[in-house]
Subunit: 356 residues, 4 copies
């Protein structure tokens, strides 16, 4: 279980890191949205491996095929949209030497206990490669939401201890680490280069923001906008903390400092992160995802065999030394999927309400 997400814009993903293919089926996309292979490919390319020294050298074209859901003119027809990407660079042999060992920081141990199966090549379903399906679905959501003027962006606010002081979103899109601060970008790259040279990896903080979200998206109580976004962000493998607005700082502040005052068009500040009472306020929606270092490192680590014997592991294969550049598009995709779901939420008021 667990591969279905969304109530109104429902995505179901499938595929393993070293199996025949990955993909996603989307149910709930209304008729009339123009979907081209190019727009999906554009987002897939943003998370594609093999693009710089800072990401895994596994080279996959990640070519996406649309199997259903469109008219001859390329408009969505109201039926499920199925997207398929074949694995072409699967190398199961990379994992043979460690198939009897539990990789620290990975799902090997917990999957073994849950499913009774030894570690699958490249982590199988638990691999970060699974997020490709999310990015494809996110591109579809983006296409549906774009006419509203709704935009979602994510980039690295910190790489290890290097924290951005300015946010240059255009720069980030060109930076190999997707780092937001042009001045500190060389320092961030230096840090990652050093980590690579020692067989290590580095953590990161992703900043995400959405503009153009209308007032009132989200649902009270359990399906608050932050709740669904939190669900979505924590479903991304390496994300270990999520913050909305200046949430961490607010926790050590006073109410008189933390409340944004109200104007005729809503809150006049952004400390609240764009959500009040679980509903969007019309201000930019923003937050942070705290990402742990890639658990696959080639430094020797202490572990055990499937049989429980002590062992040392050196994780080979092809890995990202820092997840930031490839995780940012995944974070965008998950936010887009959540927003698409709320966009399609049933109406919240009927007829003419009599206000006093």
């Amino acid at each position: 279980m667990g591969s279905v997400f969304g109530k109104n814009f429902t995505v179901m993903t499938f595929g393993e890191s070293h199996g025949p293919a990955l993909g996603v089926v989307i149910d709930g996309l209304p008729a009339g949205v123009l979907i081209t292979p190019e727009l999906i490919q554009a987002d897939l390319d943003r998370r594609r491996p093999g693009q710089s020294p800072f990401v895994t050298p596994r080279c996959e074209p990640d070519h996406c095929e649309i199997l259903s859901g469109l008219t001859d003119e390329g408009l969505s027809n109201g039926s499920p949209l199925a997207l398929l990407v074949r694995n072409t660079s699967a190398k199961k042999s990379d994992y043979k030497s460690i198939s009897q060992l539990f990789r620290p920081g990975h799902a090997d141990w917990t999957y073994f206990k849950k499913y009774g199966l030894p570690p699958q090549p490249g982590g199988g379903r638990s691999s970060g490669r699974e997020t490709l399906s999310r990015v494809a679905a996110g591109a579809v959501a983006r296409a549906m939401l774009a006419p509203l003027g709704l935009t979602v962006q994510a980039a690295a606010e910190a790489v290890g201890p290097v924290k951005a002081k300015t946010y240059d979103w255009a720069f980030a899109e060109t930076d190999p680490l997707r780092f937001l601060d042009p001045h500190l970008a060389p320092q961030a790259q230096e840090l990652v280069t050093q980590a690579v040279s020692t067989g290590d990896s580095v953590g990161a903080v992703i900043r995400l923001q959405a503009g153009g979200v209308p007032v009132g998206w989200g649902e009270p109580v359990f399906d608050k906008l932050e709740a669904l976004l939190g669900h979505a962000f924590f479903s991304i493998g390496a994300v270990r903390a999520v913050e909305f607005g200046d949430g961490i700082a607010l926790s050590s502040s006073f109410g008189s400092e933390s409340n944004d005052p109200m104007g005729p068009g809503g809150p006049l500040g952004d400390r609240h992160g764009g959500v009040l009472g679980g509903l969007s306020t019309g201000r930019p929606l923003w937050g942070r995802l705290f990402v742990k270092p890639t658990p696959s490192i080639s430094k020797p680590q202490r572990t055990v065999t499937l049989a429980g014997e002590p062992a040392t592991i050196t994780v080979g294969g092809r890995h990202d030394p820092c997840l930031a550049p490839r995780l940012a598009p995944v974070a965008e995709a998950m936010a887009l999927i959540v927003l698409a779901d709320f966009y399609l939420e049933p109406c919240s008021k009927i007829g003419s309400l009599t206000l006093k």
Copy 2:
């Protein structure tokens, strides 16, 4: 929408702050669990108002009636369990003077835009009083999970800038702020007392831990254990950030520092917070909830009327100067509800798997 949570242990809550009653219906509780009014009351009493100078003086007995779902012997019978708590101290008049103003930091503005209704007394459905229903459901989950040896606890790790240095869980349960550090507790109380005296409020950090969670709870991809817990925690009104394990610190660390090594019984450390690959590892599950200061403060704040005219608001009514002591039981309840759901998850493996 939004008042239903859980797939296998499904709770549906209802009720407004100043309406006739609040409650919850639980579907999915298996037959054979002993449920007494006392065990529900015990948890309700832990979040009950009116117990110290540090919580709202609204005095409610919060007496819980069980309407269905039990045999004459008090065992669950497999049918929905309905729990009802009447409001006895609703004071709508408290809110009359501000019913035409949007309270900063509250849901008034967003609900007005979503539902077309002016602010309801005490926030109506968006009031923290709604969490009473969750605590009642959490008590039922606790009763079902207790025989497994599963325990969930939450208390304040920080009150404003005062951060606990030791974690004394037994002390916290007796402390009016549910603060974990006996030595710093007077300092935390002093801080809140000062805030009260100036009509202000204070933020907090809640630490939550669960013991006895078996290996393998959670589901891959979208329904990871952190994803559901994140969903659950962010559904609590004032929670602005959520962290699992040492997640925030890990984001600025190296992989060689952040991976917990593996032993024959699973991970040998706790930096990962008890979850790997979205599934519980058998180690204690733990994390933090970052809570903003209560938005209701009596200091004057800048706002507008329903008609958009500038105004100054002073929020009267009866409010908690710091949410920590009453939010901790709610955090526990939400964790218990999530864990109950995973406990009832369909089986993940069948028959005898042939491992190589």
Copy 3:
């Protein structure tokens, strides 16, 4: 499980036949619908026991209390609406003598196997009394849909072998058996009277029709309008067959006879029952529910004890000799709940489609 129904207009019911109370919580009702206790009571009264010699003499006022979800003006506020009805005439003693026997045709045996509990008084959750909650929810759906001109009616087309030849809906509403044919009504009553005199019961066929359903309600593939209605109708205890339009007759006909020709406003006939391709056609939606005789009869029947010993059972208690008059309002309620759900379905098309 099983007490939740609906995706957009979500109802969750609770309560046992001889427990403290029954009720329902509805999530998804938009703000702005006028809901009065009277309109709910009106529908509850239509299925209320104790109204004629042809229904159970159990006398319950079935007074409905609204616990949440309304503004002071009686408008829905977008939050869950909770409705409560207390049991006042529970007589557990009626069932003492048969608590060790499985009643034929009832859920006693299957519930015993599923939950490990002996038969509960009056069937507990499996009692027809549970349908009270559905009728209350149906009344709310009716109030929401009425402004569209949407109406739903159900009445008896057959009582045992007595089949109506004319359909007089106004008459049925006044007839103690809710029988549609005024001329044959005495014959139907005579049949039931005879059955009562011999301690027996009689089956029936309910005809249901909905007017004013717009074109296009329903969803392709699994959530066709008939599929959801079929789900809803078969969830009513004694319903053993469901037919849409002239479905049974069509199964022995030719395509040239069964297709309704098309005109500019849709189909020109009603053999199809108002649904094509799973979506409403704009014509009246209609069908039949085939209802088995009440399984509780006072004629001696062959059964076994909980321990498996052969025994003879005579079911006392207070029962309906024919379910038609009280089941018709339940069928209406279920249809209304399904239609309410589709009314709130997310939009199916976006923007301006370019048609060739």
Copy 4:
């Protein structure tokens, strides 16, 4: 929406009649079930077109590819299983001449109104070809349930007015119409041959039975076993009525005739159809599906153009003159999917219940 079915064994189908491919993704299949392409192909071949004069001559190999979810040994690994079938014989040109006309008895009109799109070739998503995905998923369910001794079979009990008097299941599997009565089979074939010769089609009744279903499957109230099966069966395009056990006959009978007496192992008869109180009784589960004649006929029919102008339509293309032989495997598949879902239902009782 509408292409997702099942809570625990969740299937999501996709694909149009004349698009690139059809398929299904299954989430919830536990690890450890042996799934081979052959077992899926075996069921697909049973509904495959082009096999006799009584089914559409469209010739498709319906070759099924497994894209994910298996270990190298062919065992399910707990992840989603994705199945893909490419369309190879799509002939959009067949539909060009009628693309501006609404076919009577089809979804053209309702889809046009819902999605704003003119009739898609072959009905697009509303085509019976969509059921291929269900049969593939049903084969997976069958593989999971087979070790329990659970079997599901469906065949024709009636073809037009020709009704089987004996049920020879082995014969039916070899008969081109899947007709149950060897003696009347020639008569049924003669009837269909005549219909074909006049450009007409014929209705049918499908009988379905499941053996080996344990006691207690199903859920009370809304998710009764009949309710889910009814939902599933009515989701098959041409099904217009569904009956469980002798439901239609019972509706005109007396309670003393309709109740099956109880023995130590449950009911002693089969009039109830294998379900009491919504839960399986351990007796064979059985019922009937009443199927309308194929709406595509080459006899001239009265219709209108997209613009509403009167017209006459003659539906060409390649169609089944009687749906029975190809719909029976679909009915089996839907029953298997429902049973798979209940097999994986969370446990209904816990610990040791104290019975009096």
